[in-house]
Subunit: 507 residues, 2 copies
């Protein structure tokens, strides 16, 4: 006899982590694949998470002096040829527009009209440094025109062979900041400032602890002088790069002629930066907090904080119960949490109570309450918290429930962060020998799980190291900015090494 699943999601994380991830997304109705290869459809609940992320980030960008603008979707092919490393990195797998008209074909149906072939193909932007740089070159004449601090919310396309919802899709949504400065120092400060903004957002909104660090040369953004990133550990102990901030030096400004007359009257090239986060963050959120019953959403990003489930058996009861629920809703919405009004919904759909409750569990609504005639008589509600077991109920006086909702959501937000941080700490090791390194990253993954984060001394660009990490499918994620600077010995070559890097398998 087949064993009944004990959890809402099959398989569980332990049984098969990658498949569990897909099933959580399906059960929470976040997104699904589309008929267009590699492109996803973001469904309303998933899009609402992204909207909440956007709202929080957008405010942080504006508070740090940035403005939004919008640049073309298309990039002339010749623009990509200008910055040599950038070509290598981005001019390969991309969507190429070659025609601007369809016409009826000889065998019926439509074909790209041969007479409407573009003289120069257009690329659907994989990132916008080149087209934005071309505009900055026009806008910047004098040091008085600097800095330019602009952000763009947009869709981008990178032709991916293997895709996974949110984590790697051909089209994705993101924001890209592009700034130009008169001095190197100011551009470097900007690069670092935006990394801090991302870390702040990841930790305080997503409840996802991150390591801030610098990428090694091999992992840098094509064309960048320095790439900073935030790296998070997922529950399968793999790393996910959750945001990057690039100091581009004068590489792009030289390729694109972003020149200005300095205060001293000299012609100089501007110093530029770029930085971005994407809908990949939704995948990171899913993999950081969710459990074997489905999605778990940190309250600060939850589209709804509380769902109220009325319980009744007759029309008479219904009237009384709905009245009670309405007043609960109003009282909840008069409360605030994280600077916004608490969002509550009443789910009075004509479905079995269990089915409804499980839907909201799988979608990760932080707090669920039930109210029926007996609860009303007692002036109470039945409360369930999504950071606890699905059947752990509490009977609570209604005034207490509504009065403490902000504090409870805060506590849940902190719990999620602490839980994720403990997981990371538990699975991070300082590793000082190659044997230990090989033990930590077994060649055969068990049900999708990896060893964790290994902090190791290393030698940048060493071919022996490259060989070993390629074999183990591990990469240096970053050199932590807040790490100790104790020198040591590279575990791959034995050579002296000034600092450790975080090594991990990564998404």
């Amino acid at each position: 006899m087949a064993k009944q699943p004990q959890t809402a999601i099959t398989p569980t994380r332990k049984e098969d982590y990658p498949e569990w991830y897909q099933q959580v997304i399906r059960a929470a109705d976040l997104a699904e694949t589309s008929p267009v290869r590699g492109c996803m459809v973001i469904k309303p609940w998933g899009y609402a998470l992204w909207e909440n992320m956007q709202r929080a980030l957008d405010k942080m960008f504006k508070d740090t002096g940035h403005e939004n603008a919008y640049f073309p979707l298309f990039i002339p092919m010749s623009f990509l040829e200008k910055e040599a490393e950038h070509v290598e990195g981005f001019a390969k797998e991309c969507a190429v527009v070659t025609h601007h008209r369809l016409e009826p074909g000889p065998e019926g149906g439509l074909i790209p009209a041969p007479s409407a072939k573009l003289e120069e193909p257009l690329i659907v932007r994989p990132t916008s440094e080149t087209i934005i740089g071309a505009m900055y070159a026009k806008w910047v004449q004098s040091y008085r025109d600097l800095p330019i601090l602009i952000n763009q919310w947009a869709n981008v396309v990178r032709w991916e062979l293997r895709t996974r919802l949110f984590l790697r899709t051909t089209e994705f949504l993101w924001q890209e900041g592009h700034t130009a400065h008169a001095t190197e120092q100011e551009a470097r400060e900007e690069t670092r400032k935006m990394l801090d903004v991302y870390a702040d957002f990841a930790e305080n909104w997503m409840a996802m602890p991150v390591i801030k660090g610098e990428k090694t040369a091999d992992e840098r953004f094509p064309g960048a002088v320095m790439t900073l990133s935030i790296e998070a550990m997922m529950q399968d102990r793999k790393a996910l790069q959750a945001g990057t901030s690039h100091f581009l030096g004068q590489n792009f400004s030289k390729a694109q002629e972003i020149k200005f007359q300095s205060q001293e009257g000299r012609e100089e090239y501007a110093w530029t930066t770029s930085w971005g986060v994407s809908t990949r963050l939704v995948g990171a959120l899913v993999m950081t907090h969710s459990d074997d019953d489905g999605l778990v959403v940190p309250p600060r990003l939850a589209p709804k904080h509380v769902v109220i489930l009325p319980i009744y058996r007759s029309d008479e009861e219904r009237t009384r119960v709905l009245e009670y629920c309405d007043s609960l809703k109003r009282e909840l919405e008069a409360q605030s949490f994280g600077g916004v009004a608490v969002e509550a919904i009443i789910d009075d759909r004509d479905l079995r109570g269990g089915e409804k409750a499980w839907q909201h569990i799988k979608r990760g609504v932080p707090v669920r309450v039930e109210a029926g005639p007996r609860d009303i008589d007692a002036g109470k509600v039945v409360r369930y918290r999504r950071d606890r077991g699905p059947k752990e109920k509490e009977f609570i006086p209604r005034d207490q429930f509504t009065g403490e909702i902000g504090a409870v959501l805060d506590e849940m937000q902190n719990n999620l962060f602490d839980r994720a941080k403990k997981l990371r700490e538990h699975n991070t090791r300082r590793i000082d020998s190659l044997d230990d390194f090989r033990d930590f990253f077994p060649k055969e993954e068990e049900k999708g799980f990896s060893g964790g984060f290994a902090l190791c001394h290393f030698t940048e660009g060493d071919p022996e190291m490259q060989k070993i990490i390629a074999e183990l499918k591990v990469t240096p994620r970053c050199i932590p900015i807040d790490g100790d600077d104790e020198p040591g010995k590279c575990i791959f070559t034995g050579r002296p090494s000034p600092r450790r890097a975080v090594f991990a398998k990564a998404y």
Copy 2:
């Protein structure tokens, strides 16, 4: 000797309306052309207007039960072939993606890799009925799955030969609502409801009076059963279609197999609608309110409501004046207008006072105040309103100024609406003969000006009418919903006609 221009914008509206429009956009720093044919760059001030429009509309959509989602940028070519009229309308001038990789070409540079040719070309969405419909076909099984009420904020591409900033660009930003319903009546009600939302937004946020009406068959959206639109009159007396709402009947659901089992157990096709507004609204806003000194922004959509200009001559004065301005700013921001906090900025840039003031006039900031040492001594400010002449100043006690700011902004919002409405009324005629019609729409436009709106009896689809209106470059804009239903005689054919349509030259 050349005459000095008396206005900030050259030419004035009267001198050359189309050129004036371009110059207002340039002077207000709203947008500019890009190196990509037909695509514009929306600069921060222009994008802030669009963001404010988005925020207001998004709330209205959510308040009427809609959710946001996101669908792919690309549409497989075969999808466009499914709905016959839709093919005709949209499968023509569009961006066609044929390759997914670039590679080094034989003569240097890059070329689309012949080995990476797509089996089926992809179209960059000109509108998303087909791709969204394909998903709805999967999502809808039973009447319980209906209605689906989804909106998407997105970029779309229609290859345009003649482009004009905001009004007609190859790529533009928009929202597209797509809904599916179990009954015809419900879908028709949705179509009308969203038209009302658009009219409400146009009149109460953009301060732009509109006529709600139904399109004649020739002007319908390709594939629609009925298209409703809102039509506004610009200052050159031409019409601008500012939003459309389409009842699609079962045309798309049949082409895309959006079927469901009804409550009675029958298999039925869903009834669908779509509706949209775009960045074209920014162009409409510019042309409705701006004057010969530049942009005029209705306060409810202004990114900043008040700019404070400190006036001083010495460092001592500077400290004192800036303190005064800071406290003014704080007091203003404690006031609210239209449900949000008043947004004020202090412009303390090192520029001549006149230069600064004119920048803000040209950008359309609703209220400008100056404060210098003598104003402080008198406890006053100097106030200028953008709906009055640029030199009409008022000396006002500071408490009065800050206390009444909400009321002043309200008054300005209403003034702009009233002014636009008067213009429309003044230039709208009931016309009952072909001679009068020809007189009203002179063949040669004078400096870009047209006659206005002509309300005429007509015969739908009559070839004689088609010939005349084509010659005069006039189109039936809509059959007003709120118009009188008095019957009359078609001015083109003499045949009986039940209702008048609005005829106009249009953008």
